[in-house]
């Protein structure tokens, strides 16, 4: 079950009979190109290629009976380990669970908040979910979440002013008198280079004991994904990543960059616009997509 690019690489190595270090270097060049084409960030590609090279020396691929196969398996294993080799689910620690969604503008947070609510209600025996409209910037953002909440059968909470931390805190306080299993906080999109808005996230985190802080990121992110993951993680220590718009044809290399940079699991992927389009993340599937 070898992906297209790796298969070509493997065939090239196999076809040369005796394998030399030059064969390995050429194979690595091919893989490097493929990863960059897939939007994996430059520095992450460098680090990945270096790991594979070290492994090929360490496992002495040159002396192997079937070097092409061994090399290919090694690349796949290394990619799987970079991506996180086990599906890591949502932390459903103690109730009520408190999840905050953060990320760049337009990445899919509001839609994903509703999807997460739908997932908890339908698949996780968590019938009472509250969605909190804490995006006080975008026109009609609260209305958007309110409509989605109604559609998935979740409760909706917001306030008619523009202080997001106050809304979040009051939503949290309201749990004292409500029977709620999980709360999902939607936040305004913000750039990873906007210090003031990252500060706002820090205030949110200081005020509420979140079970998870999830970075919602577009599968088609380019080279900037490393900085996106780094800056959001440095600000609030994210606990997981959700990749959206995986129903497109972006190779999704940003997944590798972000996982590697933030060191947290990719938990879910969004695969469509409707609220039932959320799937657990499976590393093997995206590994072959990234390699091409």
């Amino acid at each position: 079950n070898v992906s297209g690019k790796l298969y070509d690489v493997m065939r090239k190595i196999r076809g040369t009979g005796v394998i030399s270090e030059k064969n390995i270097d050429d194979a690595l060049k091919d893989i490097r190109m493929s990863l960059l084409e897939a939007d994996v960030s430059y520095k992450v590609v460098k680090s990945f290629i270096e790991s594979v090279k070290q492994r090929s020396i360490g496992e002495d691929v040159l002396k192997s009976v079937s070097p092409g196969q061994q090399f290919t398996k090694m690349v796949q294993d290394e990619l799987a380990s970079f991506l996180g080799d086990k599906n890591s689910g949502l932390d459903t620690g103690r109730r009520p669970m408190l999840y905050m969604l953060i990320g760049l503008q337009g990445s899919g947070k509001t839609t994903t908040a509703a999807k997460l609510a739908n997932y908890l209600i339908k698949e996780k025996n968590t019938p009472r979910v509250m969605l909190v409209g804490a995006d006080t910037y975008r026109p009609a953002a609260k209305q958007q979440l309110e409509k989605l909440a109604a559609a998935v059968g979740a409760e909706f909470y917001t306030e008619e002013h523009d202080d997001p931390v106050k809304i979040a805190v009051n939503a949290y306080k309201s749990l004292e008198t409500k029977a709620i299993d999980a709360v999902i906080f939607d936040t305004a999109g913000r750039l990873h280079v906007d210090a003031e808005l990252l500060e706002e996230l820090k205030k949110m985190k200081a005020a509420i004991p979140f079970t998870e802080i999830l970075l919602v990121a577009d599968a088609m992110l380019g080279q900037e994904s490393v900085n996106v993951a780094k800056n959001f993680n440095d600000a609030v220590a994210i606990t997981g990543i959700i990749l959206t718009k995986m129903d497109g044809d972006a190779r999704g290399g940003a997944a590798l960059s972000m996982k590697h940079t933030a060191g947290v699991p990719i938990k879910f992927m969004g695969t469509g616009e409707k609220t039932d389009r959320l799937e657990p993340f499976y590393p093997e599937r995206i590994a072959s997509r990234i390699l091409g």
């Binding site: 009609a140 953002a141 209305q143 577009d218 088609m220 900085n227 129903d247 190779r251």
Partner: protein, 271 residues
């Protein structure tokens, strides 16, 4: 900066890294590196000048002065790129020059999409034509076109629903919308602009290619340029698809838009 010291080969590697990190297409990058070696360019300003020269053919576009604005603008693009917000910004430019704008809220699918454009319309006193939630977007456009033609408005801005270029039924829907406009406006009076998020990687080219094939584009708007992303994917789009980059937006408020500036774009590549 990348040329402050060290041997030439290191410089080439540093230039390559900067260009890759700018999301520029890899084939275009190898062409640039060849030119640097061939012309023995050995300093920072030299590389920037080379880039401006290489890109100027594809990035320097005919002026988009307000009087060059067309009668109808159709904004299209994938989900979350910034279409609705850009509609508001474009109306701001046009209104500032005394023009009367009408919005067509042709995203009838996404939750609160109509409300979102309505909020912008209210803020700027712009007339808006809308339909019912879940209704046929082509019907809204039909209605808007009639109003635009009869109501003495100088520009109709059509905001469409986000859609992935891989969904053929949605691409057909977009084609249908343009056909409605073409019943009342000649092709040369319509600007069909693809909205692209500067944070997008190589997929931006696939988007442009597919949208162009479904609904002949006349240009691109680069959004979220206030991000640290360089938006380098537009170079291949401009070069291979011969599409002008008409505007760039750099913030979330109505004024954060300007005519695309190739110099500013190249300068940012090495920030």
């Amino acid at each position: 900066n990348i040329f402050s010291s060290g041997p030439a080969r290191e410089h080439i590697e540093d230039v390559e890294e900067a260009l890759i990190e700018a999301d520029i297409d890899l084939e275009i990058i190898s062409g640039i590196l060849e030119a640097i070696k061939r012309d023995k360019i050995s300093d920072y300003e030299g590389v920037k000048k080379l880039l401006k020269d290489i890109f100027s053919d594809s990035l320097n576009q005919p002026s988009v002065a307000p009087q060059a604005l067309k009668k109808v603008i159709i904004l299209c693009g994938i989900n979350g790129a910034g279409k609705t917000t850009t509609a508001a910004k474009l109306s701001g430019i046009y209104a500032k020059n005394g023009g009367k704008v009408i919005f067509a809220a042709a995203d009838t699918f996404r939750a609160a999409a109509i409300e979102q454009l309505e909020a912008w319309a209210k803020a700027s006193g712009t007339r808006i034509i809308k339909g019912i939630d879940g209704g046929d977007p082509a019907a809204v456009v039909f209605d808007a076109v009639k109003n635009a033609k009869n109501g003495g408005c100088d520009m109709l801005i059509i905001d469409t629903a986000g859609r992935l270029h891989t969904k053929s039924n949605l691409m057909l829907e977009l084609g249908k919308i343009k056909k409605v406009v073409l019943k009342d406006y000649p092709e040369d009076e319509i600007d069909t602009l693809l909205v692209i998020d500067a944070n997008t990687g190589k997929n931006a080219f696939s988007q442009a290619k597919e949208f162009n094939e479904s609904i002949k584009l006349t240009g691109v708007i680069l959004t979220k340029f206030d991000s640290s992303a360089k938006g380098g994917s537009i170079i291949r789009i401009a070069h291979e698809l011969r599409l002008p980059i008409k505007y760039m937006t750099y913030g979330e408020d109505a004024g954060a838009i300007s005519v695309f500036d190739p110099q500013e774009f190249v300068d940012k590549l090495f920030d």
